[in-house]
């Protein structure tokens, strides 16, 4: 499958280009960026044939695209690609609004093209292992999940859009929290109710406190920050076991099941993001070639974006206090 990567920012350089070069089912033939000199520099470095400034310059030369642009550009580009008969792999969050996601999905369905979303946690071996344990019933009912994700924001020049209200609908939940949200939806489905707080004062939130309440009594608590360092860990309690793992580790898992505890390191080879991204891209390529659903279809991207919108709507209904609240979310 001939592939182009659209958007040559940090994520394309660090992940998508090296991953595409590892996947034998795809041939990376082109890079596209509005800053064509950036595309040319990367193409030259990796020996990629084409470097273009627009999707239309290359769409007749490829079968699929990876959209690694900022999210505000994805819906238009995805629809353009699909109209030209291309399959689309879209970075997360899928788009800036659920309405945009919906349009992308409708276009993909109408053209019978594959639309996959880059919720990469579904390819991490430790998370897949937990999913299999949970799905098989070995863990029993989920009682509680506690997720903490936070580090002081580190600016990378080409990703500063995450701080620009005119380019993104939200802050840390929209840009960083969607991986965890997708993971929770994947494992436990939609919550019955939720409580949401953030520290936005009309701009982009930097701290979030979210609790998801499930119909069977389980709860998931998610604390997220881009101002402070949190434990960056996930702890889970089930009827028959407990487990925990570092959020950015894709192989380690500490598990206590039926009274027996131990530490697992899944797979003996070193797993890194590029290798996992290659699995993700291979899944997309096979889905497109075989006409089967990818592991993370567009509907899942829509679900996460829609939930984030619900959180922001909830926050907008918060009673206004007379004095500017403290920074952070102690209020």
């Amino acid at each position: 499958m001939r592939l182009a990567i659209v958007g040559c920012g940090a994520i394309a350089e660090a992940i998508h280009i090296p991953a595409a070069l590892q996947v034998k089912e795809v041939r990376l033939v082109g890079l596209v960026d509005t800053d064509v000199s950036r595309a040319q520099a990367l193409a030259s470095r990796y020996g990629i044939e084409r470097a273009e400034s627009g999707l239309e310059d290359i769409s007749d030369q490829v079968d699929a695209v990876v959209l690694a642009t900022p999210p505000h550009a994805r819906s238009t580009l995805a629809q353009q690609a699909i109209e030209q008969g291309l399959h689309v792999f879209c970075e997360k969050p899928m788009a800036n609004s659920s309405a945009e996601c919906q349009m992308m999905l409708e276009a993909a369905h109408a053209a019978e093209r594959t639309l996959a979303v880059g919720h990469i946690y579904r390819f991490f071996p430790n998370r897949v292992h937990i999913w299999n344990l949970y799905k098989s019933g070995q863990l029993g009912r989920m009682i509680s999940v506690d997720v903490e994700q936070g580090d002081p924001f580190k600016p990378i020049p080409r990703t500063l859009y995450t701080l620009r209200k005119e380019m993104v609908p939200g802050g840390v939940l929209f840009n960083d929290g969607v991986h965890v949200l997708d993971m929770l939806f994947w494992w436990f489905g939609d919550p019955e109710t939720f409580d949401y707080r953030d520290d936005s004062l009309g701009g982009l939130e930097s701290n979030v406190d979210l609790t998801l309440n499930y119909s069977d009594g389980g709860t998931a608590h998610f604390r997220l920050s881009r101002t402070c360092r949190l434990s960056n860990s996930i702890e889970m309690r089930f009827e028959r076991g407990e487990l925990c793992f570092p959020i950015y580790d894709m192989a380690a898992l500490t598990l206590e099941l039926n009274g027996r505890s131990g530490q697992l390191v899944l797979h003996t080879t070193a797993w890194d993001f590029v290798e996992v991204a290659a699995s993700q891209l291979r899944d997309f390529a096979l889905a497109a070639l075989d006409g089967v659903p990818p592991r993370v279809p567009g509907e899942e991207g829509l679900r996460t974006v829609r939930f984030v919108e619900s959180c922001y709507q909830r926050a907008s209904r918060r009673p206004r206090v007379p004095k500017a609240p403290l920074p952070g979310i102690p209020w």
């Binding site: 002081p152 600016p155 701009g203 982009l204 500017a324 952070g328």
Partner: protein
């Protein structure tokens, strides 16, 4: 005069004081706030607000002109420490550019955030704004004096009204020097009291200072004048820092003498390191491999200084400051600005503890 709908510029809005000022201008007063942003890594507090962000800094006149076009009031909260060159460039020359740009843009008032440090570490009993400005060789304090003198000279020749505020030690959520750093050092047992904390603590909670800044921006009677700003609840440094200690489960702090003869050699070593670092910075050659060698030496000295733990040791200035006993007179701020500190030390400590726990600076 109200701030509602008025366009104002806050310099230093990504920082601690400017950031809180921006929050309150937007949230409580409905002002249209503009902010210069230089370091996006520091921008994640500011981007919580619907402010207009303009890339640039006060050392670039072009970005100042863009930021000030159509502005009524400029709150100039930028101030840096460090080497003399850095302080001169930002605190003095940057302030000059702010004044020139404000004059050119037809700004109606500039509020300049100076510091009580212009009076030295040990101002006389009941000192007010008329107390002498004391140069001590400390780059930050000396360049803040130079900036004030620049403002006085500038306003003599131009019609731009400028108000100068001289806050004491600003504390509260996000305060790097009087909240976060002491707390972190208390956690590591490297923060002693000076003379058992018997010195007089004239700190100012950030929200009290912001009250004063907001009043200064609205008070024509304040134009051309300077104001000392404190919490007006003088306490002792023991009370102040033991409040922090209690937040982390400690009931006492070690004490050092303001004479501190025991650590005198360490402090002198610290000064020697500073001198070497300054020397290496000032004489950085242009040619390689000499330049590389100097940079390696600079890095090595910084590492040695850090490993030696000498940064925890108070400077001579700090020892005098923490040992000082005596009042400061802030009646002018009360009379002219109508300043009344609204956040008590106990309420401020409660808020600050909540924030420190939320941000995991102290264990939740």
């Amino acid at each position: 005069m109200s701030y509602a709908g008025k366009t104002v510029l806050v310099t230093g809005a990504t920082g601690f004081i400017g950031g809180r000022l921006a929050e309150r201008l937007v949230f409580e007063h409905g002002a249209e706030v503009r902010a210069l942003i230089r370091d996006w890594g520091q921008g994640v507090w500011l981007t919580r607000l619907p402010v207009t962000l303009i890339e640039g800094d006060i050392n670039h006149r072009h970005s100042l002109d863009r930021a000030m076009a159509g502005c009524e009031i400029v709150f100039h909260c930028v101030g840096v420490g460090g080497t003399l060159d850095t302080c001169l460039e930002t605190n003095v020359e940057g302030t000059r550019k702010v004044l020139e740009a404000a004059e050119a843009a037809g700004v109606k008032r500039v509020v300049y955030l100076s510091t009580s440090a212009v009076h030295g570490p040990n101002p006389p009993e009941n000192a007010d704004e008329r107390a002498a400005l004391v140069r001590t060789g400390w780059a930050y304090g000396d360049t803040k004096i130079a900036a004030e003198e620049l403002i006085v000279a500038f306003t003599r020749e131009h019609s731009l009204p400028v108000v100068i505020l001289r806050p004491t030690f600003v504390w509260g959520p996000r305060s790097p020097w009087f909240t976060v750093d002491p707390i972190q050092q208390i956690l590591r047992d490297t923060w002693p009291l000076v003379d058992h904390g018997t010195g007089t603590c004239h700190a100012v909670h950030v929200d009290n200072l912001v009250d004063a800044i907001l009043l200064a921006g609205q008070s024509p009677a304040a134009d051309g004048q300077a104001f000392l700003i404190t919490d007006d609840q003088p306490s002792t440094w023991a009370n102040f820092f033991l409040s922090y200690a209690r937040m982390v489960g400690k009931t006492s702090l070690a004490s050092v003498s303001s004479k501190w003869t025991r650590f005198y050699p360490v402090r002198k070593l610290d000064q020697l390191f500073d001198w070497i670092l300054q020397l290496l910075s000032d004489h950085m050659p242009d040619v390689e491999p000499l330049r590389f060698s100097f940079r390696v030496a600079h890095f090595a000295v910084r590492r040695i200084r850090k490993v030696a733990g000498t940064q925890a040791v108070f400077s001579d200035w700090d020892l005098v400051k923490y040992a000082r006993q005596g009042r400061l007179n802030t009646s002018k701020a009360r009379e002219v600005l109508g300043y009344r500190p609204s956040v008590s030390i106990s309420e401020g400590m409660r808020q600050t503890e909540e924030w420190l726990r939320d941000q995991r600076i102290i264990p939740g």
